[in-house]
Symmetry: C3
């Protein structure tokens, strides 16, 4: 078993079948060693986790958990890009984090931490990344969080 | 006539004179073979198409058409980056799609499909890309859609 | 003194100690010669400048000044990436500009110009970049502006 798969097993994380894109685009596009992954929603067993507006229908804790599941979806896509071998990941480069929230919400970083903490727990220093965390009035399918990513593989 | 220009002619698409940036920045910046194109608005003959808020003043069909015109503007800029030869395009890498909409809107993917479908109809598999599609409470000049892009050329 | 440091001195700009990220991510991530810098807030002496919603609590002029300070924070991070020598900057590639504003705001470009104009005043043509400028209902810590960036160094 690869190092990263072993780490995922320790964390009791099973990577899902990667979500198919909802339309005429790709789940990821690789150029050289750089993999651009499309915005991922927090799906588990095909269901959208914690839909709604953070700070209204969705708590900070739930949104943080949703962000973690966005990162799990990113990894599921990344594993396909790596032909199944996540040990080929060299760097998590950047996350773009969007939070569906009201005009009064201020804790976007605490939401997106769910993804950042997960990636570091899986990859260690290789998982550390640049990112932005911003609000959106609405997101596809009423998801509370959407995260895209750039990764480097070898 | 180049293959891509021929395809554009079949689709009855005339690339406009690329829109000048509204300020002290560039319509695109090339690093190596990668072209980063600034966020484009859906302009036609210098006019902004379908301004307003999607789901309120602008229908889904109109917003989808606006997204298509954002992609046409991206191609107009990309053609300059290619010194006029769009056959030099190797890959459409990533689109960032922003939809001006209310907190209750959920069909951002269906809007941005207007751009994705257009790129695939022009370039085939080369036109397939990663993307995100998110909402914004407001966008420059009251545009309903804004899309930026990353392309690879040779 | 380096050329760029001299230019900053002429502009009476002192780069601050770069802001630490608020969580488990990096202020920047370098891959090859490309530096991805995390979304920066307009901080000065550790204080957030002009928090609030542009067009409501924050004027266009204040938001433009806030955007300038986001760019100053980007440079502070970039200087670390360059091991202290900003003359190693080859290109400002792209800015992503988010403005906290109401649904009726339309002047996002005029806000983000505060960052674009500053970068060009410091770097000249090297400072010209692609960008997007969009609205958000809310941003971290009630900041009026957040900007991330991609730079090329040698």
């Amino acid at each position: 078993m690869s190092t990263i798969e072993q780490r995922l097993a320790e964390l009791k994380v099973t990577l899902p079948t990667p979500a198919a894109p909802a339309a005429n685009y790709l789940p990821f596009r690789q150029i050289g060693n750089t993999v651009y992954i499309s915005g991922q929603l927090p799906k588990k067993d095909g269901q959208l986790l914690y839909p709604g507006t953070v700070g209204q229908d969705v708590t900070l804790e739930q949104a943080n958990e949703a962000a973690r599941h966005c990162a799990i979806q990113l990894l599921a896509q990344l594993k396909v890009a790596c032909n199944g071998d996540l040990d080929r990941v060299v760097a998590c480069v950047k996350l773009g984090g969007f939070v569906q929230c009201s005009p009064h919400f201020t804790q976007h970083p605490e939401v997106i931490n769910g993804a950042s903490d997960f990636l570091v727990s899986v990859f260690g220093d290789i998982g550390r990344h640049a990112r932005f965390a911003v609000g959106a009035p609405s997101l596809p399918r009423n998801t509370s969080v959407e995260i895209d990513g750039i990764f480097e593989i070898c």
